[in-house]
Symmetry: C2
Subunit: 146 residues, 2 copies
């Protein structure tokens, strides 16, 4: 059994987040020591999966949906494959973006808007925007700092 603070420390997740996850059904505590939640060590890999799911752009609700399919964690392969494709599309978009940014950082032209190469990269970058691509939320500065 792990105390909530122990879980928080080992998973790098704040206790308040753990309580929130419990509230929305993402994880469960197995008992209490006084008022304090006690967790089965199984919660740790589960939290890793949650973290990965978030990184993959799944919402907590979607992740909860996967987890609730069975008592154990069973992952819906087709949805995961589809999301993998989304993420790959996202990667390509970001790669174009990096090219554009690198150009801006290096090109001596003052007014990028009139630089032909910039214009071309920008056209590519703006054309490639996949409307269905979903990305993970930007972490709050608060959360990132913690």
């Amino acid at each position: 059994m792990l105390d909530i603070s122990e879980v928080a420390r080992r998973a790098s997740v704040k206790p308040s987040a753990l309580r929130y996850y419990e509230k929305i059904g993402l994880i469960a505590s197995v008992s209490r020591h006084g008022l304090r939640r006690q967790y089965d060590p199984d919660v740790l890999p589960r939290l890793s999966l949650i973290s990965l799911g978030k990184a993959a752009g799944f919402s907590l609700e979607e992740i909860a949906g996967m987890f609730r399919l069975t008592p154990e964690i069973v992952l819906p392969r087709d949805r995961i494959a589809a999301r993998a494709a989304d993420v790959e599309a996202e990667i390509e978009r970001l790669q174009t973006l990096v090219r554009l940014m690198r150009h801006v950082a290096l090109c001596p032209e003052d007014d990028h808007l009139s630089c032909p190469r910039f214009q071309k990269l920008m056209r590519v970058a703006t054309r490639e925007r996949a409307p269905r691509a979903r990305r993970a939320p930007r972490p709050t500065r608060r959360a990132a700092a913690t």
Copy 2:
């Protein structure tokens, strides 16, 4: 001169967003036709840049900061280069993630948590989390659908 609705249409940005951008100093309207904002066509490439900046993970405030440096748009090369590096790190993380997802989608193992390959990928994926990486916000479903 372009009417706000024209700009909204051509830039795929809602009028309310244009007004919001104006409020926070990202763009400016040059005159009014009655009450209606009229825009210089220059606003279109500017909006493209804003869109790109968002995709690169800059906040609107950061973008506004760049834009305000001079009357024209002058981009701070060092910050852009730094962000490009961030985005590249993000790309690598996402690539690991895609490998992990693809494995999950293909591996016949029922319980991924006990699959050695999965464990290894997960270790890599969770180890690679760059704390400073910033990502664009997930578009609202509302906004995405519009």
